[in-house]
Subunit: 332 residues, 2 copies
Amino acid sequence: MSNKQVIYREEVQLSLKETHMEVRTSSKRLKADKDSGTIAVKNLYLACDPYNFHLIKYSTKLGSPVPGYGVARVLESGHPNFKKGDLVWGVTGWEEYSLITAPETCFKIEHADVPLSYYTGLLGMPGMTAYAGFFEVCSPKKGETVFISSAAGAVGQLVGQFAKSLGCYVVGSAGSKDKVDLLKNKFGFDEAFNYKEEQDLDAALKRCFPEGIDIYFDNVGGKMLDAVLLNMKLYGRITVCGMISQYILEQHDGIHNLLNLLLKRVRMEGFVVSDHYHLYPKFLEMVLPQIKEGKIVYAEDIVDGLENGPAALIGVFSGRTVGKQVVAVSRE
Amino acid sequence: MSNKQVIYREEVQLSLKETHMEVRTSSKRLKADKDSGTIAVKNLYLACDPYNFHLIKYSTKLGSPVPGYGVARVLESGHPNFKKGDLVWGVTGWEEYSLITAPETCFKIEHADVPLSYYTGLLGMPGMTAYAGFFEVCSPKKGETVFISSAAGAVGQLVGQFAKSLGCYVVGSAGSKDKVDLLKNKFGFDEAFNYKEEQDLDAALKRCFPEGIDIYFDNVGGKMLDAVLLNMKLYGRITVCGMISQYILEQHDGIHNLLNLLLKRVRMEGFVVSDHYHLYPKFLEMVLPQIKEGKIVYAEDIVDGLENGPAALIGVFSGRTVGKQVVAVSRE
């Protein structure tokens, strides 16, 4: 069986480049095994997430396929939870066919009457991240003021819409005029600004939040976090979902304004979506009807073909991508 | 009526110096007033807290007495909660006699069978800070590892003892050999180190916490906080009680390791004791028997006379003080 793969070929240091990856074709036979409980899958859609960087840097051997979240169809199952023909989403490989050795970490797709690619984003890990991060970690209340960085990304756009649906005042930052337009005109944010065009982030936040910020959903860390700390309201909450501005720095930006945690009694909390996956059925129950009724707007950018995968993934880190970047391996 | 006072006489910038204060004698008549509900008190003991700096810098006019927590006897009352002869603790002035304009913020002392000076520390604001900060904000569990900075201070020594009594492993840092000895030999800490003698705070923490830190009770902020972030365990908690290392800096130290909040799902939270004062009766119920049974060790350093107050207060900021610094205005 011929298997086109994106191979991790050169040790990544601070930032991932296309040259760290290479597309080649293997012909190894993948066989699901009852003893070890593996499943063999055909990959359909692959997600381009900041999380890929972590997976690559900390848990991938040189010469192995790039790992990441994806949607796949089961070809052969050695695991009691799955049978041939099932659709699943979870961590798979950047290749046409994968042998998944821990299928218990995959979710079976029970609702296929929405675009399957959504399970790489809105209905997958980023959707659950937005849901758990906002509703579980931020403790939001109607009428509160919410700021979201990297707001046009897969997670941010959903957090903003969840917050609006709860009756919050919502502002997002992003890195281009196109993204800012998307936030204001498509995702229904009350305000948005391009952080690259602001001389003074503190001033930009004060303009958007004259009364201060109740909730900051932090996807970027660094200088934006430092400016936000100056603008938090009493008993505010900062949920640390990502610090994408920091991953690529050898020496992380210094944060100078943490004294505001004390002055304003702010709670700042890091969270990881995998701690909240038990809420996935509850999340689907909320979000599937909203999708079908058109109440949730979702932007994705799908490129076809594994060979275009590396460039698409790099785009997420460079800020080039608008909305959820997906690689279609096979549209079946 | 002659009234010796410590007057705030010169605008403080970054750090408080003795020259910002001046001892002089006024002869203004203090009269409690039923219409405004004031009380006139004779001050007995005054607390030297880092909090004095905040009170001075942010809410004291030049020419007024230095404010701070203290223990006082009511001489005349215009407030229904208090009568002549009552003992109270709360924010008063650094002077022999004060007119307290918001006596509802004072606590009546119901238990005078312990040293009255304790109400400036163990049984007052610092005691409640330790109690609420540890039990309410840190969410401690038996067997967890606890690190306390500025551990020989009024709050730190109590947090350590509360943590030990709960069955935690407790380590403290302080700024002199004497204080480290006190922590290990008097307050029952499992380990302690002198941060001024450590080349590498991260290494010192790794030596004391080979498995990492569950709870960090932060009294200092800055470089210690940054080193602690590298050593937090999964689901750890950092309670920000003070950042004394930072108050005196024009540009606060940069904190570079916040990414660990995300990697370790750490919750970091600022708190202010006044939000927890409703728990004061519950606190007394726990701590009074422990004091009487000698289960709590408490170190205080009492200097006599208002004229020695400014030097004593500066000692708290310079790290010279061991234990709770108190100024006895009158031992009655």
